[in-house]
Amino acid sequence: MLLREVEYARPASVQEALRLLGSHEGARALAGGQTLINVMKARAASPDVLVDLADIGELRGIELASDGTVTIGAMTTYTDIVDSAEARARPILGEVCKQIADVQVRNRGTVGGNVCSNDPTNHLPPLLVAVGATMTILGQGGERSVPAREFFLGVYMTAAGPGELLTKISVPPGKGDGFASVPIGRDGTCIVNVAASLDSGAPTLAIGCVDAVPVVLTPDSAAEETVRVAVRGANLDPPSDVHASADYRRHLAEVLALRAVAQAAGRT
């Protein structure tokens, strides 16, 4: 497919990238391109300028702090996470990244791209919400931190606004996590996914694919009936499509919530 004409820059620093993003109204950051290039083919996005972040080394990499916090640069690929010894400090990260699409997409697709595109069927928005991640956003006005729960604002919309960049994601220490999904084909697009974490005591659940942003639930306990009641009480209103009716998605949300919690409980 021939793309619409577009200008391209590949800055070497975050400051230069911010300047470029700020000086063109139709500028967009290009991370791994595994979503953006395709939506440009479909003309669902038509940026005037692409600011390729590939040369900005400080946006890439995974660090493990002495307190167990895992900090992931926005340009880190899924494959980087799967292969990273540091990321294994929070094992669910690599386990979920391994379920995303296929080898080629995992080699190019980035964590930052996944969350900033905020497709409601993506894996990482619910996961990062459940594990209590913190997103660092840099703009012309400086740096700010946003909890993952407040980062996802709507379909394709996040707290990283025009002219801003998500630079890194910090995941606190923990092991009691679970993730369950029903995808279209193995490792395909999720029909419903649920991430759960029991590390803060009471469970935190984040249900994906059923609303514009992950639906967060904090049942009082990890007991099966309590989790069921919490999911039913959320009055989910998911979309219907060729893959699943709204009713079936509601059913999946409940079943997958139980599976995610059970997996998490087995690890605490």
Binding site: M1, L2, L3, R4, E5, V6, E7, Y8, A9, R10, P11, A12, E16, L20, H24, A27, L30, G33, Q34, I37, N38, K41, V49, L50, V51, D52, A54, A101, D102, V103, Q104, V105, N107, R108, R186, D187
Partner: protein
């Protein structure tokens, strides 16, 4: 640095250096096929699903329909044309031939590149690992069994 609508890129493809001016909007697969006339890599779906356009960029397996040519500036690219040498199929290609691992053949270039990447990383993959390794490549003839057999044979 300013944004530009075209730029001159240098790439090494199968050991040969190329310098070309390309439009920023040009997909890498079009650059490889139409500018360099290396038509072994195929365009199947053009949506990132089928993997027929798979190539190796600096040793990393990617789908070249989901990358711009300008993003590959400075890279070493390997395509299916680089597998055979002096007209002789390499071991993997010979295994595909021996095991009838192609029907219409359209997916074959991508399958070969995915298998190449897999075998470099894992010299003796299990069947499960082979199937995971070619997960991004769709054979619309559904001839996966023989493809898996061929990769298994090439690994031995």
């Amino acid at each position: 640095m300013e944004a530009v609508s075209s730029r001159t890129i240098t790439v090494e493809v199968n050991g040969v250096q190329y310098e070309r001016e390309v439009e920023a909007r040009r997909l890498l697969i079009h650059f490889i096929r139409d500018d360099l006339n290396l038509t072994g890599s195929h365009i199947g779906c053009d949506t990132g699903n089928c993997g027929a356009c798979s190539v190796l960029i600096d040793g990393v397996l990617v789908k070249s329909c989901m990358m711009l040519a300008v993003q590959a500036d400075g890279a070493k690219i390997e395509t299916v044309e680089g597998l055979a040498s002096d007209g002789e199929l390499n071991g993997l290609q010979q295994a595909f031939s021996d095991h009838h691992a192609l029907q219409c053949g359209y997916c074959t270039p991508g399958m070969l590149m995915s298998a190449t990447a897999l075998l470099r990383e894992n010299a003796s993959p299990s069947e499960e690992e082979i199937r995971k390794g070619i997960q991004g490549n769709i054979c619309r003839c559904t001839g996966y069994v023989n493809i898996v057999e061929a990769i298994k044979a090439a690994a031995q």
